[in-house]
Structures are given as structure tokens and as C-alpha cells.
């Protein structure tokens, strides 16, 4: 089996698949060559706004704690500002900077190699689990740990287990504690449980998480409350509200990226001998966009253009709208699906899948509808075999990574000691 058996594009000849790859490469080159001062101004402006908001929020929270009348409105306003600042930082700034979208500027202060974001996960670990593992093995069951984050059963191909009944609960916990879930993501709890994790590497990662998490917690729950004097409790609550707002928001946006009904999952066999063009196709088929205005897109880190982001993770996010026009046209031309819908529908579908898959397959029906099933053959059967039990590959066993996925770097524990 190869990726060309995937239902959605088996109508294409090999030559057409290669042609699509060439057209996408051409888009990439054009955008790369046209990056200019206006793009640089965009990210610089955004960083300025974000830091202004964060600073303003701290001032409002601190100052209002000393005034009886202003305390409650100040706390509400301050936490809204802080939440917004954190969302902007994590999504449109941090995520995209760490993908290397702004490395071309040659500015060491806005560079994937040393950006550290305002959330619990150490940047270095995120670059590995996200830029490398997720973006390279997008939606490949058993390879891509972002499918359900090791907590949720998100594909019918994943074997059902009685613990899955609790999915609605795990899902809510994940939403509220998203930052901490992400913090543990690269540790690979599954491997630890099976005793397969290199103990030194584990120690190194835990140390990183501990230091990063400690600083984050100290800042929001100790230092700033202490500065707010008598009403430190209000500041704690406001900071917690800001963090939770950010958590829930990022969770929602991120679940809209690959779990709406149109996004396809793949099996290991399907990506054997995958060509570059087929990799592109997998990104198109595996991702889902949502619609919205400019503000919504900025607040969601441009992940409403998830398809474009997955095709070109290191091109500047402010260019995704124009890239999307061209990708859509390309999909029309080659009769490829392009999944897009309003945010609430995309998330609604992801949520429905979470709920349905808490039950065994035989109790529920697949949501995926294949248009024109008669000409493309019937809906393929769910592949045999429990994916959860497939052995996860280590980095060494994985194929060579693709360059444009963004930076990551990680030494083994020994090398860094």
C-alpha cells in the first residue's frame, strides 16, 4: 500500500501528483523571494502590541488592587488584557517564530533558535515534538503524537479501550490544562510507562520542564500577586483566568486543525516511499481550515490557514491569506478536497468525534462522507490492527526530516551533560 491509494486523490496520475508538487514549490519560491520590509514590520508591530498589552495588563492588575472601587473591574480588564497578550504570544508570535517563519530577517531577537514562549513547555522540546514529529508525520497513526495527544482516541483506526469512555472528561481537563498537557507532550509518557525511555534524556527533559514551569508559576502566582499588596488574591484569580482563557482558546484552535470531518488520517504503510509531492498532498488532506476575519486569524496564530501552514510551515504567517487563494485554486483544478468551515462547525465536528470515539466503533457511525463514492470506489474499510499497539519509532529510525518544517535541535542527554 502506498499513499497513492488514499481515496481522495487516487484519481490523479503520478505525473499530476508531481505537477502539483511543482506548482506548490513555485508558490513557495515566489513568497520566499518577495519577503520584504512590510513583512518584517508586521511581526515587529505585533510584538510591540503584545508586549504593550502584557505590560498594561500587569499595571492595571497591580494598580487596581490598591483601590477598592477599581478592584473588580480592574481585575476583569487586566485578566482580559493578559489573556489576550498570552494568546498572541503563544499563537501568532511564539508558534510562528519557532517555526522559523521570521529567521530570514537575520534578527537574533526574533529567531527560532532562541525564542522562548510564555507557556509551560520549554521551546526546545516543542520544536522537536511539533516542528519535527508532528509536521513531518502529520496525521500518520502511530507516528504523529498530536492525534489525541496520547490522551484521546481520535481515529476509528485506534483500538478502543474501556478507559476511552472517560473521553468527555479527559477532553475538558485537556482544554483547561492545555498548557501543562503540552508541557509533558515531548516527554513521551507512553515510552516512559513501558520503560523504554532513555533515563538520562528523561532527566534532562524533566529538568527543563521543571525550570520553565517553575518560572511561569512563580511569575503568575507568587511575584505579581505579592506586588499587588492587600488584594493579592484577586491578582491570583485574574492571572489564573488569563492562563485558562489562553489554554481553552489554544486547545479549541488546535483541535480545529486536524480533527474536523474532512481531515484524513494515514497509516504507516501509506507513507512508505512517500515522495515530496505526496507529502504535500498529505498535508492538504490531513489539515482543515476555518474561516474568519483578520482579527480571528491573528488571534489563532493564522491556524485558520492550517492547510497552508502545513504546506509551508516556515513562510511568514501574514502571507497565508494570499497563499490560501492559490492553494484553493490548485485544489479546484485537480479536484482535491480542501476542508474549510466556520470555526464553530470545525470545532463541533472535532468534539463530536471525541464523544463518539469514546465508544467502540460498532456503536457509532463514521462521520466521514465520501462524495461521489461511486466513481472513486466505496468508503475504504477501517484498516485492521490496533494502532495504539504499533511500536513508536525513535528519531533514529525515522526518515530524514524535511528542511522547511522549521528548526529543532536536541542533543542526547549524554552530549549535553
Amino acid at each position: 500500500m502506498a499513499i497513492s491509494d488514499v481515496q481522495e486523490y487516487c484519481h490523479l496520475t503520478d505525473e499530476e501528483v508531481e505537477q502539483i508538487g511543482r506548482e506548490l514549490d513555485a508558490i513557495r519560491t515566489e513568497v520566499e523571494e518577495s519577503r520584504c520590509a512590510a513583512d518584517a514590520a508586521y511581526i515587529n508591530r505585533l510584538i510591540k502590541v503584545q508586549r504593550g498589552l502584557a505590560f498594561g495588563a500587569r499595571v492595571v492588575l497591580g494598580a487596581s488592587a490598591y483601590s477598592k472601587r477599581a478592584r473588580i473591574p480592574g481585575a476583569v480588564l487586566g485578566s482580559a488584557m493578559l489573556g489576550t497578550a498570552k494568546i498572541l504570544e503563544n499563537m501568532e508570535i511564539g508558534h510562528n517564530v519557532m517555526h522559523g517563519q521570521w529567521d530570514w530577517m537575520n534578527d537574533p531577537e526574533i529567531h527560532s533558535s532562541n525564542w522562548e514562549w510564555d507557556t509551560a513547555q520549554p521551546a526546545e522540546q516543542w520544536k522537536h515534538s511539533h516542528n519535527y514529529v508532528h509536521h513531518q508525520f502529520t496525521n500518520v497513526l502511530g507516528y504523529d503524537n498530536d492525534i489525541g495527544y496520547g490522551i484521546l482516541r481520535m481515529a476509528r483506526e485506534q483500538k478502543w479501550h474501556p478507559v476511552n469512555v472517560g473521553q468527555p472528561v479527559y477532553n475538558s481537563l485537556l482544554a483547561f490544562l492545555f498548557e501543562w498537557g503540552v508541557a509533558l507532550h515531548d516527554l513521551d509518557l507512553e515510552r516512559i510507562r513501558k520503560g523504554q525511555k532513555d533515563p538520562q534524556e528523561m532527566k534532562r527533559q524533566l529538568g527543563q520542564i521543571w525550570r520553565k514551569g517553575r518560572n511561569q508559576v512563580l511569575k503568575d502566582y507568587v511575584v505579581y500577586p505579592a506586588l499587588s499588596g492587600p488584594h493579592w488574591r484577586t491578582t491570583i484569580v485574574a492571572n489564573a483566568a488569563a492562563n485558562v482563557t489562553r489554554n481553552v482558546w489554544s486547545y479549541v484552535i488546535i483541535f480545529c486543525g486536524h480533527f474536523p470531518d474532512g481531515a484524513v488520517h494515514f497509516t504507516e504503510e501509506e507513507i512508505e516511499d512517500e515522495t515530496r509531492s505526496e507529502w504535500y498532498l498529505r498535508q492538504i488532506l490531513g489539515a482543515a481550515n476555518f474561516e474568519g476575519g483578520r482579527f480571528l486569524h491573528i488571534m489563532s496564530g493564522s491556524l485558520g490557514f492550517q492547510i497552508e501552514h502545513h504546506l509551508f510551515p516556515d513562510l511568514p504567517s501574514n502571507r497565508y491569506p494570499e497563499i490560501a487563494e492559490r492553494v484553493k485554486a490548485l485544489c479546484d483544478k485537480y479536484d482535491l478536497p480542501y476542508t474549510v468551515g466556520p470555526l464553530h462547525r470545525q470545532y463541533g465536528q472535532a468534539l463530536r468525534t471525541i464523544l463518539k470515539l469514546s465508544l467502540p466503533n460498532s456503536w457509532t457511525k463514521d462521520n466521514r462522507v465520501y462524495d461521489d463514492a461511486s466513481t472513486r470506489g466505496d468508503t475504504p474499510p477501517v484498516p485492521e490492527g490496533p494502532v495504539r499497539e504499533r511500536r513508536r519509532k525513535s528519531d533514529a529510525e525515522r526518515p530524514t526530516r524535511r528542511l522547511e518544517l522549521g528548526a529543532w535541535s536536541r542533543g542526547s542527554a549524554k552530549e549535553r551533560a
Binding site: W104, N106, P108, N114, D118, L403, E415
Partner: protein, 367 residues
């Protein structure tokens, strides 16, 4: 950003350092400087920055940029040294290095560099024509051994052409400021009188000091300086003088040859504008780029940066001549040699500047 990209924390005052590290409890994972720089772009020590205060036209195609450096700058450059400057052109920081033409002085709080626009030089024309006062530039600390010793020798000869006058200007100004002008002969070639940078100031200095003589050569009408033919005439006692020469490559080559032939090579100090990588290269080998899984065979003269680019790795770079440190990567294993001075780096996880090092045998880099 948790990683401090400042290579010069040592120069900061202790007290400030402590205030900043307490402040970072409030700003983590950023530095306080990341916020402060929005109040004043120079209030950051994360990286050396400067603000262009003035752009003074010198000739039709050359201008002096007066720059006020920000936090972290050490007022210690020696006359003759050059500085790396990074300017955003079309959104991207481009790096070049220019000699500092001002005399070292703390009191003025500025440095100046003099730039001549080259027809093909994107950055130099941008600096001369397009730079607004107020522009923020990145800076690298002064470097270079083309410097005047202190105290200066009794008899000095400067042989310069074109914008090669700038480092020498810093030396002459220093001698003037200190009031210690020894016996100095300056030979200055330029196509026309109008193209002579600092011509008024040089004339004034000449008037002011009896011991300072300027020879002007206009190559459009008089042809180039031929050391073998002209030097004895221009400056009969040149063999007894300590000589500093700066200008185009062919001129420096001719001078080196002549000084060599006359047996006084050790008296000549030259400054070349292009990065001169010594003959003492690495032996070459296979360079592997770990994260991308790419590999490339490189010979001992190819820099790691060039090799990486050939292999299609997205290598970071700035000045490409060893001054800005943008290109620094972790050497996981193996050995590289610095092409400028032959220094070797072979510690596991050592930080190396890829633009000035070449492989000595097989090595692995973390990118």
C-alpha cells in the same frame, strides 16, 4: 527569550546586572530589556545596537554615519579597528564591517564610520543614500589588529587609497587629539580631488601640524602609485618608517611585494577590506548536519557555512566574516579550524562560527 544573545555581559555593571535578573522574574521568559527597548531602542543589552544620529555627506558618494551605541558598548576601540554593522534592508539585516573613523572618545558618546557607496554594493549605497537619522542598527564590537601602537612610532607612513583612508583617519585624529603627532607622511590616492574623503579636515591638520604631510595622488590624471618607481620619490626615508597601508587588494599586493623585496616586510601593516582566510585551512572531510540528516564533502578551504549552503541546509548567517556571530552553531563532534588564525575547536558541543571555520576531518553540526 531565555537565551541571552549578548556576548558581552561581562562589560555590564554589576548593579545593573542584578536589577535586571530580579526584573526577569517579572518578565520571564523574556528579559526586562525586551520591554525596555520599546521605551528607548538603545535600552537593551541583549544585543549591541546603535542609533544613527547624523548622516554627514563627505563626497558625492561617501557619507559619515554618526552612531550612538546603546547599552553594552565598551568605549575601548583602538584607532584603526573596524566595527560590524547590521542594517535592515527590505526587512532583512545585512551585515558589513567598516572602519571606525572617529578617534576613541567616551565623552562624545558616539562613534562614526565612513562609508563609500559601491556601484554594486546594495548595503553601502543604502547606508550612504537611504539611511535616515534615527534608524536603529545592530553593532558588533570593534575588532581588528590594524591599529596604531601606543605610544606611536617616531616616524610613520600611511599609504591609503579611496575609502582606505577611514581607519587611518581614526589614527590621525587620535594623534591630533592627544597632541602627540610624530613625523607622519600620508599618501592618499583618489581618482579625483572631489572624491577625496576628509579632504578639508586633512588640509587643516596639515596646517596645524608641521610634522604632518599629505601627498595627494589623483589617479584619473596621474595614474596609480607604483611603489617600485614612486615610493623613493614620495617618501625617501620610507624604509625607516612604520607603514600602515589600506586600499584595494592589487595595491596592497604590490606594496607587500615591494616591501618584501626591499627586506622591510615587517614594517608594513596592511588592512584588507575582504575577509582574508589564511592558507592554513582544514583538511576537509564529511560534514554532517544532524537535524536535517544532510551530508556534504568539503575541502579544507570551504567554510562550514558554504558547505552547509551547498548541501541545502538553511544555515544562519550575517556578516560572513566572523564578526556578528549570527552563524554560530553547535559542533556536536569532530574538529574545525578557524581560517583566520588556525585555532582549532574540537570540544563536544562547542559553539563555532561557521562562516570562518572549515572542517578538519569529519564533523557533525547541530542543525
Amino acid at each position: 527569550m531565555a537565551t541571552d544573545t549578548t556576548p558581552r555581559a561581562a562589560g555590564q555593571r554589576q548593579g545593573w546586572h542584578r536589577v535586571r535578573s530580579v526584573g526577569s522574574k517579572l518578565t520571564t521568559p523574556l528579559h526586562p530589556d525586551d520591554y525596555l527597548r520599546f521605551v528607548n531602542p538603545l535600552w537593551t543589552a541583549r544585543e549591541l545596537r546603535g542609533r544613527v544620529e547624523e548622516v554627514v555627506p563627505e563626497t558625492e558618494d561617501a557619507a559619515t554615519l554618526v552612531i550612538k551605541p546603546g547599552w553594552g558598548w565598551r568605549w575601548q576601540h583602538r584607532p584603526g579597528q573596524y566595527v560590524g554593522i547590521g542594517v535592515q534592508v527590505d526587512g532583512k539585516f545585512q551585515w558589513r564591517s567598516y572602519s571606525i573613523s572617529s578617534a576613541p572618545s567616551r565623552s562624545r558618546r558616539t562613534i562614526s564610520i565612513t562609508v563609500r557607496a559601491m556601484p554594486e554594493g546594495l548595503l553601502s549605497s543604502h547606508l550612504v543614500k537611504g539611511l535616515e537619522p534615527g534608524t536603529i542598527v545592530r553593532l558588533a564590537l570593534p575588532e581588528g589588529d590594524f591599529v596604531l601602537p601606543d605610544p606611536p612610532p617616531d616616524k610613520v607612513l600611511f599609504l591609503v587609497a579611496g575609502s582606505g583612508v577611514t581607519p587611518v583617519m581614526a589614527m590621525v585624529r587620535t594623534l591630533h587629539r592627544r597632541g602627540t603627532m610624530p613625523d607622519v607622511v600620508l599618501h592618499y590616492s583618489s581618482p579625483t580631488p572631489e572624491r577625496m574623503i576628509f579632504r578639508d579636515e586633512l588640509a587643516q591638520l596639515e596646517e596645524h601640524h608641521d610634522s604632518f604631510t599629505v601627498h595627494r595622488l589623483h589617479t584619473d590624471t596621474d595614474g596609480m602609485l607604483d611603489p617600485a618607481r614612486d615610493l623613493d620619490e614620495v617618501c625617501p626615508d620610507w624604509r625607516e618608517r612604520e607603514t600602515w597601508a589600506c586600499g584595494p587588494g592589487p595595491m596592497l599586493d604590490a606594496l607587500s611585494e615591494h616591501f618584501e623585496a626591499e627586506g622591510v616586510a615587517e614594517r608594513l601593516h596592511v588592512e584588507r577590506f575582504n575577509l582574508q582566510l589564511g592558507a592554513d585551512g582544514g583538511e576537509g572531510g564529511t560534514i554532517s548536519f544532524r537535524n536535517s540528516g544532510k551530508e556534504v564533502e568539503a575541502d579544507g578551504a570551504t567554510t562550514v557555512l558554504e558547505a552547509g549552503e551547498q548541501a541545502g541546509v538553511g544555515m544562519p548567517y550575517g556578516c560572513r566574516m566572523g564578526i556578528c556571530h549570527t552563524c554560530t552553531l553547535t559542533l556536536v563532534s569532530g574538529k574545525v579550524r578557524d581560517l583566520r588564525n588556525g585555532e582549532e575547536y574540537d570540544q563536544p558541543n562547542e559553539q563555532v562560527q561557521t562562516c570562518v571555520t572549515a572542517a578538519v576531518g569529519d564533523c557533525v553540526l547541530d542543525i
